[in-house]
Symmetry: D2
Subunit: 343 residues, 4 copies
């Protein structure tokens, strides 16, 4: 592939430190299923970084699997999970949540986010419905940070959502598939410790943020979900060689590598956004994280697409298209410059 | 861990060729979800090795996940899967098959195997039951080669099972988590092409046979299961970086590496078995593949267990225990010799 | 309860003919599970009335159960069912469809109906999505006749929906919980034979249309769904005393009783609607079937509610409420007159 | 059907008192979903008869539905239910429990019963398994009283099972599909109050014990299962006309009718058993309740079967068959005498 690789943040393998760690430990014999010492150390490092050293930490493999397992682990059988109508679990997980028997209850989004007032109104209407007990009972709120639109919740918004969850007895779950990029965004005011303090469960994305594969589920309150190990196994989400995940997160949470990777990708995205503005080009909306939603003329797209790998986002109008460009830990300054030259 | 590593065949990372391939391709940008060129090439190599170049090949991550996805993909909602009562899906997958809504119908085993006569008798009784349509309808036969007991089906036995599946309209599924070891066993008379010819679907185990992670599902009849890609996604079994699996199987199926790894592990196991016999020790039963079921005195086990990592199999009698020792692609001649010296 | 009974169409027991038939057959000994002769005769009568004498007919107990069983019986595991966002399966079945693993894919409604253009556009967008195979695959269209809003599809609309189902390989399912009332509505141009001709499966509602309990599922193409009997059992929807359902439908489809009951209820509803108009009162919208959506002043509602059993529909504005009033086979002329006097 | 009706205990309609009550209340307008006053009164009567006036009581429709709903309502997602390998949920419910995602964990039976020692041993082995957390976690014990074999647990046995459930944190569920017959058996020493005291949940069978349809689920500890109403709805087990069930149980629990019906059926069965002994015929085993397991010569069966409706139980040997004959509340003395004359 000689096109400039901006189609997504999962086009390359893993950060070189991870490749090195996998290589160095390769022939060590260790216990299975994540009970080995490296994985235990990775759990400690992740929990410490989140400011909750007693947290339960589990390493799973991918985003859809993690969402399905966490949501099923937290919900009772009669409960559903609330998500934005654009949420990943609502649209792009092939019904993995419903496969586990749970309905995804959707509320209208605002650039991918659930506004606290919209959520409160939805829940109040639901509770007031005369057929309340004929309906799926909301048991969890699912959001992602950043959202599918690359937008961010502010600390104040997360606090409001937490408060609504308390009022309506919902678990609060944050999907952090791209969390590194959220944390590094200049306008972000939410730390990983804030998330650990406000959420009942969240995951720290590895696949899109430097790992080869892997997501770290953090449940700040130790023992909150009994037998979650067995639930993971039941969902086919338990790796025999659990250490493959442990080694990666041990590396990512050594010397703050995870956070540095985020900084790197955001810096690249900011440069591209600055160039877009400077050159008088338009974004569909300004997402502050590692995704850029560029409006481009359909004619121009033909040549642009020969040089740049991008994702189709949606049709803008009869003559324009919205593209999604993504930076990542693997984006090189050279490629950023080449992309800018093409704008 | 300084103990001799014979506890299982998934204690190490990956064959060095795989580490090398992952390292060399690491910074390449490729398309996601297994649509990249390396993964496509891996599919071709696997299908060719199976003698069915048109086969559908899918790469999944682990055994339980693969079993749950394949079984759910093949069965109708009202169907169940027949397994030995000692089968992995019957006992050690935390209910992953039932999670997908399907009952595991168990028949008695003989050293882990389903004898054709036992199966035929079970199906005849089932079909003759006056409440036939109040019962789960058998839709698939699941076996593993080798079995949980390290035993093997002969070609003749597989042919008989195939014939019974035809008579009763069952799909025939073979779990090859340790297939490399089965294929390399001197007494084995079943080739991978036989399996592809006789089964509706099978998987070639990577995790326990040289890969870091990964299992290759082969459906010899192209297009047999519509939308299986979506079913994989629904089960949380689709990797964004699908190439991680593709690269591994591309390596394993280059220059017959997969088959050589099996030879290596079986040679080691045979040496240990020969030493057991020579030293007058006893096995609970003779499994011909990479697992050895050693009877040991409980007193002796205390010191043995300080030097050797093993798996507890079961209590033999009041004063003896059965251990499972496993060799693998990663077993070194030095460790084999050290183990023999301890016997 | 001395209030006028207009809260719903399931407030009374069964049409007297049914009580008589149940009484007369009560001490007869018959075979179980719907294999008795009366139930077989009921199947023949229903199939004949639908103009498809070879149809498969199954008697189930209630609406949610029937929807869950039919939808699960028709869909593959990876498929979902399309419904209006106000559809009963989308809102008021406590997640029964998702419990079976299937997502309800919602499209915006127009007074409870799915407009053909809206459906076609939804499906075209879905098929054009770059992530098509990461999404639930639409496998069925679910509508109800009449809808939750008491509105009706015209024959032309049903034909258009059928055509779209053909184009997109969807099964077409019509929920006829209140079908008797639809068929008897003066403005209706859809016969039960049209429905049998256009749909892959539908159910003829008994519970709300004269039966004590029971719904008749009709699958016009015999043998279309293998082992549907077992699927019914699996869903807990098989009655040991299946004849209880058979006797009722035998009665309802003797001498066109089912159709006469509809006529009766619609006549009552039309009288009430005429009185509403005459007295200058307002309906939120005009539903032509057995449900009436009356706007009433909140102050007046206090006294009205002491005399009339009604269903709360929704808040209209700060000072008004929308009530739902329903007639049925059991509505008496006396009660209709008393209600009119109160308007 | 002019054959003598001994094939099962669900061949007739309902006890005449129930038909009368349904007829008398038929045109009353009542609230739906079991919120009407008659159903509330029925709940009070059932709870009182069980000696636990605060119990939660729910009326469901049939046995498989009740088992699936109760088991799913009590279990967490990762838990399974223990049953005898001959249990109704293990064999004859078409996978309804697995449809809800739960494995049925089977233990060997003794004439349909789970012996306390067998259960304790099973649980001890399970807990001691090194792969404990890779296996389905037992969450409930399911038994039926009487069993599929018509046998009964003694009070002492139930107490032992309760104690084991306490030790292993299992819910204890008793399926009383034929409970009336168990309670009326002379050798029985278990009262309905004992059951309510010892079990976490049980159901009082109506369908086979005098009702047209219906089973009464009793959860002695009020509020034990939150939102069970919604779980019932989710399982398609909520009747719009809930009163149909309420009226029946109100009748059955007025003037101890339920218990008298049991007496009547057992007296008939005892007469038949006495005649069997007197005439030198053999039973496969002596079940003390309303089911009789008669060994009959295959030649004789040809003529016997022309006169008597029976259930095939199993082949006894090459020349004999085991039949099941069942008495019920509807068995007439005339038919008992005619059957005896045929023996």
């Amino acid at each position: 592939m000689s096109k400039l690789p901006f189609a997504s943040d999962y086009m390359e393998g893993a950060h070189p430190n991870i490749i090195r760690a996998l290589t160095e430990t390769n022939l060590m014999g260790t216990a299975g299923y994540g009970t080995d010492e490296i994985t235990c150390e990775a759990r400690r490092k992740v929990a410490k970084a989140c400011g909750c050293p007693d947290a339960d930490v589990f390493f799973l493999i991918g985003g859809t699997q993690t969402n399905a397992t966490v949501i099923d682990g937290f919900l009772q059988g009669y409960e559903g999970v609330i998500a934005a109508d654009t949420g990943h679990i609502a649209l792009h997980e092939a019904g993995a949540i419903e496969f586990g028997g749970h309905k995804v209850l959707t509320v209208p989004h605002t650039l991918g986010k659930i506004e606290p007032d919209v959520l409160r109104s939805y829940l109040a209407d639901h509770a007031a419905d005369g057929n309340y007990d004929h309906m799926v009972i909301p048991g969890m709120l699912y959001i992602s940070q950043p959202t599918e639109f690359g937008t961010l919740y502010s600390l104040k918004e997360l606090q409001k959502l937490r408060s609504i969850c308390d009022d309506y007895h919902l678990s609060f779950y944050l999907d952090g598939a791209r969390l590194a990029y959220a944390l590094s965004t200049p306008s972000n005011d939410v730390t990983i410790r804030d998330i650990a303090r406000l959420c009942d469960v969240f995951y720290i994305g590895g696949t899109k943020c430097g790992a080869m594969i892997g997501e770290a589920v953090v449940i700040p309150q130790k023992g909150r979900i009994p037998h979650f190990f067995t639930t993971i196994k039941q969902h086919g989400a338990l790796l025999a060689k659990g250490r493959i995940l442990g080694i990666q997160f041990d590396t990512l949470f050594t010397d703050d590598l995870y956070f540095h990777l985020g900084d790197y990708a955001i810096k690249a995205a900011d440069e591209i956004r600055a160039a877009i503005d400077k050159k008088g080009r338009r974004q569909q909306f300004v997402a502050p994280t590692n995704q850029i939603f560029l409006i481009i003329d359909n004619e121009e797209l033909k040549t642009f697409g020969e040089k740049v790998a991008y994702s189709f986002w949606e049709k803008y109008d009869e003559t324009h298209t919205v593209l999604r460009l993504a930076t990542s830990w693997a984006t090189t300054p050279e490629n950023v410059q080449k992309l800018i030259d093409l704008l």
